[in-house]
Amino acid sequence: MKLLIANRGEIAVRIIRACREMDLGTVAVYSEVDRLAPHVLMADEAYPIGGAVASESYLNMERLLAVAVASGARLVHPGYGFLAENAEFAERVQAAGLDWVGPPPRAIRVMGSKTESRKLVHEAGVAVVPGMTEPLASLAELEAFVDQHGLPVLLKAVAGGGGKGMRAVTAKGQLASALERARSEGQAYFGDDRVYVERLVERPRHIEVQVVADRFGHAVHLGERECSIQRRHQKVVEECPSPVVDEALRRRLGEAALIIIRAADYYSVGTVEFLLDPHGRFHFLEMNTRLQVEHPVTEQVYGVDLVGEQIRIALGQALTLRQEDLSPRGHAIECRVYAEDPLRGFAPSPGTITLLRRPGGPGVRVDSGVMLGSVVPLEYDPLLAKLVVWAPDRAAAVNRLRRALQEYVVGGIATTLSLFRALVEMDAFRQGAFHTGFLDELLASRQLEELHSEQDPEAEEAAVIAAACLATLGAQSLPRDPFAHGRSSGWWQEGTRMQHGRFPR
């Protein structure tokens, strides 16, 4: 039996691993820039599906379905992003006689619409964040909402997710341009320019509950994940369990999540997101009808293979997990390693990975979609890898994370690793005292370099000295600079050659 993975990067690799452990064959697909990507090299079979632009490849339903049928795959796993929450694709997979590794299309449709899901949850008796239940018709309507409920507000694309198509507005003058950007991003990434507005809950924590349900009405929750370390609404660090959720609150959150998925006739794995305010009250935020990027922290703490469970449910098997057996053990933390430069406003940093050393040792897991020599393309989400650590308690997990970050080296492109290195030294992070605005506020008030300099003044002094020595060497050896490298280095050329499919010298 074979499973086709309609995705790329680290999640495609993760799914291949689950399939291997279940003795399922794997079929990878790839765009023209991903010919030598790890997921392609790793899968049993791999087929080209089109151009680099996602709409020509990873979003190309026709092509994906044709490959699925021609390869003889029985299941299609969408991963996250791309077509993972596209009800039409799920329907077409099923219409082609294949098993969709995900929830029923109608549940995707209802829970994928932020406005409809809010209605459903409200009617099921779970609290939602105050806001409109219909998309905005006009700027005037938005202004009226702001007049009534005040600022700040959050604009969200109806079909959005992952921080895309989302804009916080703190001043009335920004409403028009924020609406325009949210609409444009919604159209570009989700094919839907409808936007709605809700009141921004101030200083909340983002707490989400992992659920697993089979087709026979049996459902369990696997506790919560804490995802409050975010940059512009994009999660960058996640942990399980949350440092502020006790057993009683965990039970209440879990019960609320199960009420919601029953109301939606949901099966497969899924995540119900809540905002937890400083007074311990929680409001439904949205539901993600797919496997989440941050699923590994739950896997580490609950000892469950979520991708394996998801595939077994898709094959029509009954869930064997029982709620009374599920309790958190230890603590896990995940850092999302993005190809972004935290020293330059998190600008995307595409390019070739010329140096790669991954951490190892006890309690360290790296889910990665790149390897040495990989060319990080511009066309896709910049997530390179996820560093996940587990330890018996949170303090030990933070220390283990710091150790793993010291070992992790990525050269040739900038990554968010340097952000995490500063973060693990901060008291607020070590004590677990943060909210969803914590990182944005920190970065607005301080440059990351300043944090590095303060936390490690010896390293700063060494950097100043090294830079001056290097500049001296460079100046003295002009006109030919022996230290000039980058584009002209052998590594870069090899990367280019590999990209063109020829064997490097």
Binding site: E185, A466, A468
Partner: protein, 167 residues
């Protein structure tokens, strides 16, 4: 040679002379001897023989006088200027002439929000550039009148491409 190294916490005056082994450096008046051993094109080992301290340094030349260094596991973005350049920079003298809006990253132009002849204010968004699934608004650094627009929506641009020229 004399340098002014600009970091996030201010300037450092550094004098560097090559010594028999390594370098003799004076940082903000403090003299010490260091050894810089190059490991490969982008890695070096920096050692302080006086107290045995040793750092692994990975380095990359950025645009202009910028150097990007990772010391141990800490990232630094430093500008290494000659004393004359440092004075010029402090006085705000720019050798670039009329100001331009450049692409800071490779990407696709989603929207151009100005046309030749438009007056723009400092900080006003002039181009929306999409890269890695995010739309980034690029703003004019200073006020001026748009002299030329070099791109159209849909165009793919490389780092440093001049998108809009102001006068």
């Amino acid at each position: 040679m004399k340098w002014v190294v600009r970091g996030s916490r201010g300037n450092h005056e550094v004098e560097v002379e090559r010594a028999a082994e390594g370098f003799e450096v004076v940082v903000d008046g403090k003299r010490q001897v260091v050894d810089l051993i190059r490991l490969d094109g982008s890695m070096a080992s920096l050692r302080f023989p006086s107290n045995g301290r040793s750092f692994q340094v990975s380095f990359q030349r950025g645009g202009g006088r910028r150097w990007r260094l990772v010391v141990g596991d800490r990232d630094f973005d430093l500008e290494v200027l000659t004393p004359v350049e440092a004075i010029a920079a402090a006085e705000g003298v720019r050798g670039r002439g009329p100001s331009v809006v450049e692409a800071p990253i490779p990407g696709k132009v989603v929207a151009v929000k100005v046309a030749p002849g438009d007056e723009v204010e400092a900080g006003q968004a002039v181009v929306v550039l999409e890269a890695m699934k995010m739309e980034n608004e690029l703003a004019a650094e200073q006020a001026g009148r748009v002299a030329r627009v070099n791109v159209e929506p849909g165009a793919t641009v490389e780092t440093g491409a001049v998108l809009v020229e102001l006068e």
